[in-house]
């Protein structure tokens, strides 16, 4: 076998155990021999096509690429390991969701939305898993830590970027709802509703 760019990139993605950026893939080659970004992308697209009928896939996550076993095969693959994957409590998932969607966010702000204290052990678990980290301190009394999610979070949840998080359900503003009800005349309501279609809202509804 003659090592070529494609076989080197494939082997690296298979052996790395984590997502690799294009720069890291280029860094495998001697200076002057590294393929350009476009060539790396082309090779990855070729690999993706090669795997179309197989149990693995190339996936773009957290700004890099990795080769992973397709989700359809998890019923078989999970028999490889005795230990069952960890299940996370609702408290942990809600805390993580708030950090993911509202970052940077303080513990106090999380508690405000959830209505209960955020236990220290949840924050510690999330930090130990490498999914969240302190990105700064809020300029207010006590200078509380502000949390944000990490690359490891994106990698674990198979996300390309935070933009790929599922859309949040849209909120109805109660004040707005009451005000509108009070101020509009009955015939105005009819007219406005027929014309005032916001396509953005519709898309969001369909997606969620």
């Amino acid at each position: 076998m003659q090592p070529n760019v494609k076989s080197i990139i494939e082997a690296a993605l298979m052996a790395a155990g984590e997502a690799l950026t294009i720069e890291r893939l280029q860094g495998l080659f001697e200076a002057g021999e590294a393929p350009g970004r476009e060539e790396v992308r082309r090779v990855i697209a070729e690999l993706s096509a090669d795997y179309a009928r197989r149990g693995i896939e190339v996936r773009e996550v957290a700004g890099g690429y990795r080769i992973q076993v397709r989700a359809e095969l998890s019923p078989w693959l999970s028999r490889l390991w005795e230990e069952k994957p960890a299940r996370y409590s609702r408290a942990l998932l809600e805390t993580l969701a708030l950090i993911a969607y509202r970052q940077p966010i303080t513990r106090g702000e999380i508690e405000q939305v959830r209505g209960v204290t955020v236990s220290t052990s949840i924050v510690r678990t999330l930090e130990e898993r490498g999914w969240i980290r302190v990105v700064g301190r809020k300029d207010m009394p006590g200078r509380p830590a502000m949390y944000a999610t990490t690359r490891a979070f994106l990698e674990h949840f198979n996300l390309r970027s935070l933009d790929n998080l599922p859309d949040l359900a849209t909120l109805q503003d109660p004040d707005q709802a009451f005000l509108e009800l009070d101020l509009r005349l009955p015939d105005e309501v009819d007219e406005e509703e027929s014309t005032d279609v916001d396509p953005a809202d519709h898309e969001e509804d369909e997606r969620s």
Binding site: L13, M14, G17, I67, V69, L77, G115, V116, H156
Partner: protein, 250 residues
């Protein structure tokens, strides 16, 4: 419609004590419990029958206290808040109330309930995302012949230049040693000539002049040789006038 559903509220609060404990532990806090009470009865979150919900909520809280479950203070705070909203809604509205008084006293509660529900859903969605180690597995092909390498440090031209500037500044020699571009190529050629002469061999003078660099190449080589002679790094040997000149490293 809402009124009738409130009338028909099932009085199903009795849950066997053992089960209740498990049941209550599944709530993530007062907002979660309130949401449960609202959703269980298919009520519109924007129009909560506050009196009935408050009654039910307080019944749960009383039960929790009776069972001496460790009750988070937040549950009691919420009970107080519900009672306050209820009393405000019971008060007759003054006929010429300023506009801000028109705001429904439930508004803040509704906002919080909605916001909490939004993230409760987000957490559920997060849990259904395909996850590494549960739904997806990274390939971990072994690489038995690969060994971690120590990478060589990178040096840029700028760092080199700064280092030189620093050493020159320290030595205060920059004025005496103004080396210009021309000189650099001469010094480069000096290195090349010396390399060619290594091993103390005699080389013919003419042989040292590159044929492919044109006149500038000849001039630079000549200057380099003169400099090498001046610095006693090479010697020129000529056996008799007009005989070939030989060059040797000293």
């Amino acid at each position: 419609m809402n009124a009738s559903s409130v009338q028909e509220l099932p009085h199903d609060l009795y849950i066997p004590p053992d089960a209740l404990e498990v049941f209550l532990e599944t709530f993530e806090g007062p907002l979660d419990l309130l949401l449960y009470l609202i959703r269980r009865q298919n009520l519109d979150i924007l129009d909560i029958p506050i009196a009935e919900i408050t009654r039910q909520y307080i019944q749960y809280v009383d039960l929790m206290q009776e069972l001496r479950l460790e009750l988070a203070a937040e549950y009691l705070v919420m009970a107080a808040m519900l009672a306050e909203i209820k009393s405000r809604m019971l008060l007759p509205r003054p006929p010429a109330a300023p506009e801000e008084e028109d705001v429904d006293p439930r508004a803040e509660l509704i906002r919080r309930l909605q916001e909490y529900e939004q993230f409760k859903q987000a957490a559920e969605q997060l849990d259904t995302l395909p996850r590494m180690g549960r739904d997806l597995f990274p390939t971990l092909v072994s690489a038995p012949d690969c060994h971690p390498q120590q990478r060589l440090p990178e040096v840029g031209l700028r760092e080199l230049l700064l280092a030189l500037a620093e050493v020159m500044r320290r030595a205060k020699l920059s004025e005496h040693h103004h080396v210009r571009r021309e000189h650099l190529s001469v010094r480069e050629r000096m290195s090349e000539v010396l390399a060619q002469l290594s091993g103390e061999r005699f080389r013919s003078f003419g042989e040292l002049f590159p044929v492919d660099k044109g006149r500038p190449g000849v001039v630079v080589t000549f200057l380099a040789l003169l400099e090498l002679v001046r610095e006693s790094l090479v010697e020129l040997v000529q056996n008799e006038p007009f005989a070939p000149i030989y060059v040797r490293a000293r």
